[in-house]
């Protein structure tokens, strides 16, 4: 309860943090999902040279301390880094300490989570159905888009929603790579942390925590519903 007796009153700055969190989480999922689908399919269905190395590399952000991941991103994508330097010189794009950077850090952190779920759903697609499609005249690309991908949809949807929920909570890598700039890179967890660091900020921290709790729960609930619906549709 607030002083004025209303439950959950957020200041415009706090709403900005909520909106920014949603924006960063959504963008990170949208951009990384296609890559995660390809990676999940490759890992779940194909054998190729160096597969275990690729597998380990994708899973690195899962096991590394997030601060280390953020630091590595800073080294690579910082204005003086090998990739970040090129981006800055050629396109004038700066990633470090920007919303785009927060999105990149979030995408890298949630990528392994998505790949794991998508890989399972790719492995679960009945290859007999793909063989049937072959005998009906469908080539490899055609088969992937007409059979494999639609049958992976429940897994992909669940993966995206779980990753979205996790993305809302990314902290270590984001604060290291993008810092905590209000309105620019300060997402919900960062705002909560900042509130806790400032005197008298406990109430703000509590309110923002409730918001992130509700968002995460809604995302998880939605992912269950989507997966359930998609399974039911496919018999």
């Amino acid at each position: 309860m607030n002083d004025d007796g209303r439950f959950l009153t957020l200041t415009p700055e706090e709403w900005t943090a909520v909106a920014l969190s949603l924006e960063v989480a959504l963008k990170s999922i949208v951009f990384s999902l296609p890559v995660a689908i390809v990676a999940g399919w490759l890992l779940g269905r194909r054998r190729f040279f160096g597969k275990s190395v690729v597998d380990a590399f994708i899973h690195l952000p899962f096991v590394l301390p997030p601060v280390v991941t953020g630091y590595v991103l800073l080294l690579l994508f910082g204005v003086k880094g090998p990739v970040g330097g090129l981006l800055n010189d050629w396109f004038g794009v700066r990633l470090a300490f920007t919303t785009a950077g927060a999105t990149l850090a979030t995408a890298v952190m949630t990528f392994p989570l998505m790949v794991r779920a998508i890989r399972l759903s790719a492995g679960a697609v009945d290859r007999g159905l793909e063989d049937a499609a072959r005998t009906l005249g469908a080539g490899p690309v055609d088969r992937f888009f007409s059979i494999t991908l639609p049958l992976m949809v429940p897994g992909i949807a669940a993966a995206a929603m779980t990753a979205f929920a996790a993305a809302l909570g990314e902290f270590g890598a984001v604060i290291t790579f993008a810092a905590s700039i209000p309105g620019e890179t300060q997402t919900l967890p960062l705002a909560i942390y900042a509130a806790l660091q400032s005197p008298g900020g406990e109430e703000t921290a509590a309110q923002l925590s409730i918001v992130s709790f509700v968002l995460a729960l809604a995302a998880l609930f939605l992912s269950e519903r989507i997966a359930h619906r998609a399974h039911a549709l496919q018999g």
Binding site: D131, A132, A133, R134, T135, L136, G137, A138, G139, G235
Partner: protein, 359 residues
């Protein structure tokens, strides 16, 4: 004409088969479980790559290990009906049927959508989802889907094996119409002799990955040297003939097999219609003289051409019935008692109700 001569090592099992199938009608590939039937079909369809050999259809080489030819499955124009139907679960029945049709290359005039739907009786199912169909309905849709891709050969891998008897009876007439009306040659894998008798114009026996024999079903079913056929409890002859006429007062039908006339329970088909009979060896008795005072209607004079001892004190007799071959299973004791020997003239006794009539 389909010509196959391939070898493929699958673990400890070796598939090494060579045979030819006719350009029309149905060729049955018959063998026990694990005889390599499914692997053979997969190789023909291009889903499994043989180690060596050659596959050719109507002069078109689909696979030749020596010349490094391996036409991909999707370009072979070979329809495949799998044992478990394999309908696409995320599409309606109509979308399943359209899947192959949209992707076919227009070569020869292909069967029309409406014709195939009518042939298989699946019009009421078009807007349904595969999961709501019965096993028999699924299999009919799978056949239609394969047919609409305009194949030059239709492979059927035990399409009835996962169905119960009423469902089998539901599908069999469709398969016969398929064989007779579409002109698409069929290669039909089965381990049921009843299905062979009903469907097959040509029979290939597969045993341990090898072709044990190939020929007309009537010829192979009368042989005593094929363990695959005579070791079965339902060993018996497949006889091909036609309806000679009906005796309405007696409610019986006369069927001509070559020159021999069978009297059977009434068959609801016009005179002249082709029929196949399956007469099990255990349903045939032998008399050395024309018997009297017997209920058995068919007392057929024939020549005993060969005898083969069977396990458990039994003896299998091969009978020549004016060119057609029948088998009789007796106890070895009876053959000794009657002093039966090859070359002897005997009478084969077949109860009218004992032979199954397959149209």
């Amino acid at each position: 004409m389909l010509r196959i001569d391939i070898a493929k090592q699958l673990g400890a099992f070796r598939l090494e088969s060579a045979f030819e199938a006719k350009a029309r009608g149905a060729t049955a590939v018959f063998g026990a479980s694990g005889a390599g039937k499914s692997a053979l079909l997969s190789a023909i369809a291009g889903l499994v790559k043989p180690d060596t050999g050659r596959i050719e259809i109507a002069g078109d080489v689909l696979f030749d290990a020596g010349r490094a030819i391996d036409v991909p499955s999707e370009a072979r124009r070979i329809g495949f009906v799998f044992q478990e139907a394999r309908l696409f679960p995320h599409m309606s029945v109509r979308a399943n049927l359209e899947y192959g049709r949209k992707r076919r290359k227009e070569h020869a005039p292909a069967a029309g959508f409406d014709d195939v739907v009518a042939l298989l009786g699946i019009a009421p199912l078009l807007e349904r989802r595969p999961r709501t169909l019965s096993g028999g309905e699924k299999q009919r849709v799978a056949i239609g889907r394969a047919l609409l891709s305009n194949p030059r050969l239709l492979l059927l891998d035990e399409p009835l094996a996962s169905l119960d008897d009423p469902r089998k009876a539901e599908i069999l007439p469709f398969l016969e119409r398929l064989r007779d009306e579409t002109g698409v040659p069929m290669l039909y894998v089965t381990h049921s002799m009843d299905e062979v008798a009903r469907i097959a114009d040509h029979l290939v026996l597969l045993d341990g990955g090898r072709v044990a024999a190939a020929g007309a079903p009537g010829d192979l079913s009368g042989r005593l040297d094929l363990p695959l056929l005579i070791d079965r409890p339902d060993v018996g002859a497949i006889l091909i003939g036609r309806i000679a006429g009906h005796d309405d007062a007696r409610v019986v039908t006369r069927v001509l097999i070559g020159a021999a006339e069978f009297l059977l329970s009434h068959i609801d088909l016009p005179a002249g219609h082709a029929v196949r009979l399956r007469v099990l060896a255990r349903d045939v008795a032998i008399a050395t003289k024309p018997p009297e005072g017997l209920s058995v209607q068919n007392v057929l004079p024939c020549r005993l051409t060969a005898l083969a001892d069977r396990p458990n004190g039994r003896c299998l007799l091969q009978l020549d019935l004016d060119g057609a071959t029948m088998l009789a299973l007796l106890t070895a004791d009876s053959t000794r008692r009657l002093d039966l020997h090859a070359g002897q003239q005997v009478f084969a006794l077949v109860k009218s109700v004992a032979s199954s009539v397959l149209v």
